[in-house]
Amino acid sequence: MYLNKVRLILLISISALIISPLSAQEPQNPNPEDVKYSPKNLVDEDAMQAEMDFYAGNDHEAELIFKGLDAKKNHDIALWSNQLGSLYLAQGKTKEAQAAFMDAYLVMNNISAFKDLELRSVGLTGSEATKAYKGDPYEKVFNSFYVGILLCSDNDFENALAAFKNGILCDSDVESNLYKSDVTLLYLMASRVEALQKNQSMADDYFKQAQEAFYLSYPDNRSLVSQEQALLDDLAKKQKTLSEEEKNITVKMDKGINLLKADISKLEADIKVLVDKIQENNRKIVISSLRDLVNLNNNTLLCIETGRAPFKYQIGSYGEKAVFTIKPYRATGFNVTIDNFIKISTGSFLKNNDIYYQASTRGGRVMDSILKGKADFKKTTADVSGMFSNISQVYNPYGVFSLFSLAAGAVSNATNPYADARHWSLLPAELQVVPMRLNPGKHQLQIDAYDSNGKMIDSYKTEIEITDSPNNIIFKRFRGKAL
């Protein structure tokens, strides 16, 4: 009986082995798109095509490329995740956007991630671009903002607040004091979340800081703040020199010291004049849009993203400096209409969340001085190589000077001073936020974009669904091709 069972099992197994290849499906031809955009077939340079596809409105191609690059999980993963996040947000896929921004957030705010690559990049032959992309302070700020606001729309207030606080911390990681903490949106959102969690005193504190940030970054104040920052830097230098000189001299009333003191007094007077002008401007600035955003009666925040991100590129003889520029965007004003009859005036829009201003006022980084040192070294070794080459040609062709020339030339060529130009290029140029009170249910939303002459240049209509959540967040991107 037992043997019969074993025989039966063996028979079934053998039959299955014989039959299974016959019933197996023929291997299907892989989808050409999957092959083309598979991580192993994509290289970093393909991202330029994806970037241009995004701004041309060809989201499908852009998504395939950025997804493929993201799947590589290499040292640029935070960059690909941020690009993918912006792409999803522009498509209205908020869940996917949140996941992508969160992936980038985890790398950008992890000091030890890819640490070995960072150590290599400060060496003479290492390039800055070989280190992991973790973003400039403004990129960290906006990554934290997007993570926070998308968590907020899920009513995950604790984590949203943590993200906003992280953004505020990143905003303070800049060289110049006056540009620290000037991203109004982060403070406003932190204030709103604190109010939602019934922490009114914290909400009030954040609101005060938001007001300060708004004044600092207000367009009328920007040149005054920039002048004040230059004078403050000069003052700090002179005060340092004065204290050093006062320690070293034996005769206190030295002529040089008196001149330095006179300079310091003049600088202090000039700074006072600028501060008075800024305060005079502040009195004229209307802050009702700030109050609207933290007002919990407004259950809907419409975020209108416009234009193209600040563009970062290398300059200098050896590409050792990275600078920013921006492509002008034609739309300057927007009109919002709800259900074809409620018009929201631009006065209640929270504007001036200018990402180019944030990118270009972040100051010099420690890496910039390292790159300058490398560029100087490259120039010196190139000069030495040239000098030996000239000597060898005149006195000793093929001799020892030629070898020196070759050696110095090789060192010069191996030195890598190029600045890192990687940047989050799918960010918008500006973000305008419109706080609104809408009843739960379906609504028709229309946004019209106008140029500086008041001519309508773009219009967008959609149906939105408002839930009973206190935070309904809607994003709309106007990416445009410029003028």
Partner: protein, 188 residues
């Protein structure tokens, strides 16, 4: 000896034949191939000559600006000026570029003045622009103001949009553009 003279004559004549740059449009061009992700960018440059001194521009430099490529592998292009580029009546240079899709930096213009001891003269632009595949775009007019003969380098004074006037002239100068749609874009 005759053979040597013949070879030299052949070399000089052939070098003239191959001097047309693939990166510019020419007056005699009848076809425009914008396949393989190539695009055309048009812009004008204005500089006002002072007195009898005139600036004769010979070329301009364009560099690729691509964050995803290593700096020393970025393309650099020397784009020559040809006679049809210049309109002496209004001091305008009509510049054309045929490049692969991407973002580029217009670096500088090189030339000489017609004075007796003329050192090389540079107009520094440092302007970023886009090249879109299979399209022709006008991106603006660069204004360098009055020619300063005491200097050897001048920087950009301003940019303006002269789409209507300039595009009409481009179509007249370059017949290949005559029936083509020319879009409007801008420098960064």
């Amino acid at each position: 000896m005759r053979k040597i003279i013949f070879v030299l004559a052949l070399v000089f004549s052939l070098s003239g034949c191959v001097s047309v740059s693939p990166y510019v449009l020419s007056k005699n061009q009848t076809k425009l191939d914008l396949t393989k992700n190539r695009g055309v960018v048009l812009f004008t440059l204005k500089i006002k000559d002072t007195g009898s001194t005139r600036l004769l521009l010979s070329s301009f430099t364009v560099r690729e600006a691509n964050q995803y490529k290593v700096y020393n592998t970025l393309g650099s292009f020397y784009i020559p000026f040809i006679s049809e580029n210049y309109s002496a009546t209004d001091g305008l240079y009509f510049c054309t570029m045929v490049l692969n899709r991407g973002i580029y930096r217009l670096d500088s213009f090189s030339g000489l003045t017609n004075s007796f001891f003329s050192p090389p003269y540079t107009l520094k632009a440092d302007e970023i622009f886009d090249v879109y595949p299979n399209s022709i775009n006008y991106i603006g007019r660069l204004d360098f103001g009055d020619l300063d003969t005491k200097m050897v380098v001048m920087t950009l004074k301003g940019k303006e949009d002269a789409y209507t006037k300039d595009v009409e002239r481009f179509k007249a100068i370059f017949p290949v553009l005559k029936d083509k749609e020319i879009g409007k874009d801008s420098f960064y």
